[in-house]
């Protein structure tokens, strides 16, 4: 009797796992397939430079003396009209040389207006809440301090706002430190798949992209409409995405607005980063799913897509439960006595079928990006998959434990920086040209034949 109950319970768990994971697998296969075949991705690249509202660029900083010069110099060198540009480095209670660096730039460039914060709730969202008060731009763009935007990125991120339905925009982050550790190399594959395949596919299909809080922006009016930044959220970016979506605003994705980032090279750092994302995401799921179901502005497909997006981290414990249920059945001789087609199918199905979808996305992304050698790392991605699954399960366990007991969760945690900074030389890759940057017709014509990179 007990054994029978155990078998039935295990089958039920596996059945649930199969349904959920198959649904995700179908979704990911479809996204990868649609990404492969759409020859004209939804983009505003042809209109870059024609949409020139006044913008404010926020750069939250907390003890960023190693990298502050790079990001500020990169913003100075961007080809956006300085008359329409405002840069607000948000110095959030730094105790190192960040303040001096920021003030130095402010002295040299009138459009750089630092905001120094010495008290208040910690964390990026809280700092942005305060810094936004005096911003004058119609569009707010955000870059984390360790990012170095290319010259065209500001214009690229601004272009989608010609559409009044667009409330936020997200660019693409490209890992730069791919060789620092095997983890960072594998994360570069994960990022490629996430942006080049999934974000672009979802945007092509008319779903809202996900705002990531950096290399992105928000319309000031839309931000005010949804009540501003949520300082209590660990993932204020995800929170904003869905707050906007529920009010009828969309988030655009700009694949070509690429910016290097430093991915964690150490698993402990990665685990904490994942933990924050999992907690924030799941929090958003709990906060928004009822409204998403009832949302008047969304089609059924859009609602499903949004819920799938928010619930994606829940697949990890479902996989683990499925495995454990399989293990139980494995040890129960009675389970082997019957030709349990569903048993075998479920084992196979969700392990083989659904996992492949993720790797298909990686492959599609590497094909479109032209990053050949990294494609060969895919077998090692299995390790990353297992590592992520464990970390996500642990993060969810803590989240629901805290939620159940009403205790506080993880606080804001700044991802550890590893890049040493290049003293404003822009990653040491290209020397951004200076002077003669404000060309005719607002930078759309080549002013002269010198100095423009290929």
């Amino acid at each position: 009797m007990a054994i029978t109950a155990l078998i039935i319970f295990s089958w039920t768990l596996i059945g649930i796992a199969m349904i959920v994971l198959s649904a995700y697998a179908v979704r990911h296969y479809y996204l990868a397939y649609s990404r492969m075949r759409i020859a004209h991705p939804r983009e505003t690249n042809e209109l870059v430079g024609f949409v020139m509202p006044r913008i404010t660029v926020f750069v939250p900083m907390h003890n960023e003396e190693r990298v502050a010069r790079d990001v500020l110099q990169a913003l100075v060198d961007c080809d956006y009209d300085w008359e329409l540009l405002e840069v607000i480095p948000v110095n959030d209670r730094s105790t190192d040389g960040t303040r001096a660096i920021v003030d130095d730039f402010a002295r040299r460039y009138p459009f750089i207006k630092p905001y120094h914060r010495s008290e208040g709730v910690g964390g990026k969202p809280a700092a942005l809440v305060e810094a936004t008060v005096n911003a004058t731009g119609e569009i707010y763009l955000m870059f984390d301090a360790d990012y170095v935007p290319g010259r065209a990125v500001l214009k690229m991120l601004t272009a989608p706002f010609l559409d009044p339905e667009i409330g936020a925009v997200m660019g693409r982050v490209v890992p730069h430190n791919i060789g620092d550790s095997l983890l960072s190399g594998l994360l570069s594959l994960e990022r490629s798949a996430g942006y080049q395949s999934v974000q672009q596919a979802r945007f092509n299909l008319g779903f809202t992209a996900q705002f990531g809080g950096t290399v992105g922006g928000v319309r000031a009016a839309a931000l005010r409409a949804v009540g501003g930044w949520n300082p209590e959220s660990l993932t204020e970016d995800t929170d904003l995405t869905f707050a906007l979506l529920l009010s009828g605003w969309r988030t655009a994705y700009v694949n070509r607005a690429e910016c290097y980032e430093e991915v964690p090279q150490d698993w402990n750092v990665r685990r904490r980063q994942l933990s924050r994302w999992v907690t924030g995401h799941t929090e958003c799921l709990h906060n928004y799913w009822p409204d998403l179901v009832r949302a008047r502005f969304l089609t059924r497909g859009e609602k499903w897509d949004a819920i799938f997006l928010l619930a994606m981290y829940l697949t990890a414990p479902i996989i683990v439960l499925g495995w454990l249920a399989s293990l139980v059945l494995f040890f129960v001789p009675e389970a082997h006595a019957v030709p349990v087609l569903p048993f075998a199918m479920l084992i196979i199905g969700y392990q083989l079928f659904s996992n492949q979808a993720t790797f298909l996305e990686i492959g599609v992304a590497t094909l479109l990006d032209g990053t050949r050698l990294r494609a060969l790392l895919m077998p090692l991605s299995l390790l990353n998959f297992f590592a992520n699954t464990g970390a996500i399960c642990n993060a969810l366990r803590k989240f629901y434990w805290n939620r159940f007991w009403g205790s506080g969760g993880d606080g804001w945690y700044k991802t550890h920086r590893t890049r040493p900074g290049s003293d404003g030389k822009g990653f040491g890759l290209n020397q951004a040209p200076t002077g003669a940057a404000r060309q005719s017709l607002n930078g759309l014509y080549h002013a002269n034949s010198e100095g423009m990179g290929d």
């Binding site: 690249n45 042809e46 209109l47 214009k155 009044p164 730069h176 409409a225 009828g248 990653f427 290209n430």
Partner: protein, 378 residues
């Protein structure tokens, strides 16, 4: 023992599945990715300028070949040859496989074929039916009828694109582009782009117009649906932007005062004033002689009827058609029109900026008879 051997072989085979990944990792280890071009900026006339820059570098660094003469200098650049002459004049039917540089003017007859790029420092005239790879001119450039450009065209002076000319990529000019019927390109960019039959007389506006509908409506306005607008379907998204559920076909002149997202088709009657941005989830049709100050974005097709004056950006997820007499102009910044499908320009269109299409931009002739029956004045 045998099984031990088998195990070793099997595990070696198992490792093979990781071998390439391992080797790839060893290659990547310690390196940083560098595929992003941090100095990239989007320039409309990039192709032409890049070509000019490269040519300038080659001509300044390469020695002239021994068979050069006063009238023709030859340079060898790898497998290619560059011919440089003071002026160039080709008869009809000529085929050239070299990169050509004319230090003065360049002219060719009909049905020539230039397999490589052409650089002209003066004015240039291309005969009918000629094919070119790409051409850059520092003076005026006139392309005859049915010319084929396999890549791009760039002119510092006026660019005339003859009837039925086909340009596969961009056409740019720093002065003006005249775009004649039957011609197509992927994009055009110039301070002024004009199609045939330019007539700068202002359209006569109606002496009698219907009641003007304001969106968002004013507090005293009727809450009843009228003129195709139902106030019950209008919602605020916050931030001064509104959404309208369903199709919005306004049958009276519309004065739009705030950004609007229409979850269906949008159309407005003639002589409307659209002061804010509009997004439609389906098609957009703008009535004749309307003034559009905001951006127009639609997921479907867009039609601007005759004599519409737009001052910002048009973007269509489907096709776009700009009718006879449309004008696109604004201060400080160029305007732009982009369609994922075909973008059709009728006669008497003047746009200061850019028109582009993921498919092609086509100029067509508007028949006089059609004009007489369909003009805004009717």
């Amino acid at each position: 023992m045998l099984f031990l051997l088998y195990s070793v072989l099997f595990l070696a085979l198992f490792y093979v599945h990781f071998f390439l990944a391992h080797r790839a990792w060893i290659t990547i280890r310690g390196k940083r990715s560098s595929e992003l071009d941090m100095s990239y900026v989007r320039l409309e006339d990039y192709f032409g300028q890049s070509f000019r820059r490269k040519l300038k570098t080659w001509l300044s660094t390469l020695p002239a070949a021994s068979n050069s003469t006063a009238n023709l200098r030859v340079y060898h650049h790898g497998q290619e040859r560059i011919f440089v002459a003071p002026t160039v004049q080709y008869p009809s039917g000529r085929v050239e496989k070299e990169i050509l540089v004319a230090e003065g003017t360049f002219a060719c007859g009909n049905n020539c074929d230039f397999r490589r790029e052409v650089m002209v420092h003066g004015d240039c005239s291309i005969g009918e039916g000629t094919s070119l790879q790409a051409i850059a001119a520092d003076g005026a450039l006139s392309l005859g009828e049915a010319v084929t450009i396999r890549r791009w065209v760039d002119a510092a002076g006026k660019l005339t694109i003859g009837a039925d000319t086909a340009i596969s990529s961009r056409a740019t000019s720093r002065t003006a582009i005249e775009f004649l019927p039957g011609a197509y390109a992927q994009s055009l960019f110039a301070p002024e782009i004009a199609t045939e039959g330019r007539n700068d007389d202002s359209p006569e506006l109606s002496t009698k117009i219907g009641p003007v509908l304001q969106i968002p409506h004013r507090p005293g306005d009727s809450p009843q649906a009228q003129h195709g607008f139902d106030p019950q379907k209008l919602f605020s998204m916050g931030g001064g932007t509104y959404a309208y559920e369903g199709d919005l076909d306004v049958t009276t002149p519309l004065h739009l005062r705030a950004p609007l997202v229409v979850r269906g088709h949008f159309s407005c009657a003639k002589e409307s004033l659209l002061e804010a941005d509009i997004k439609a989830h389906r098609n957009i049709t703008i009535g004749p002689a309307s003034v559009v100050k905001g951006n127009l974005v639609c997921d479907g097709n867009m039609l601007l009827k005759p004599d519409v004056y737009f001052q910002s950006i048009l973007q269509a997820g489907g096709t776009m058609r700009l009718s006879f007499g449309v004008r696109g102009l604004r201060e400080k910044l160029p305007v732009a029109a982009h369609a994922t499908g075909a973008l059709t320009l009728e006669s008497n269109i003047v746009i200061n900026g850019k028109v582009s299409s993921a498919h092609r931009v086509i100029a067509i002739s508007t028949p006089l008879a059609w004009l007489q029956t369909n003009s805004a004045r009717a």
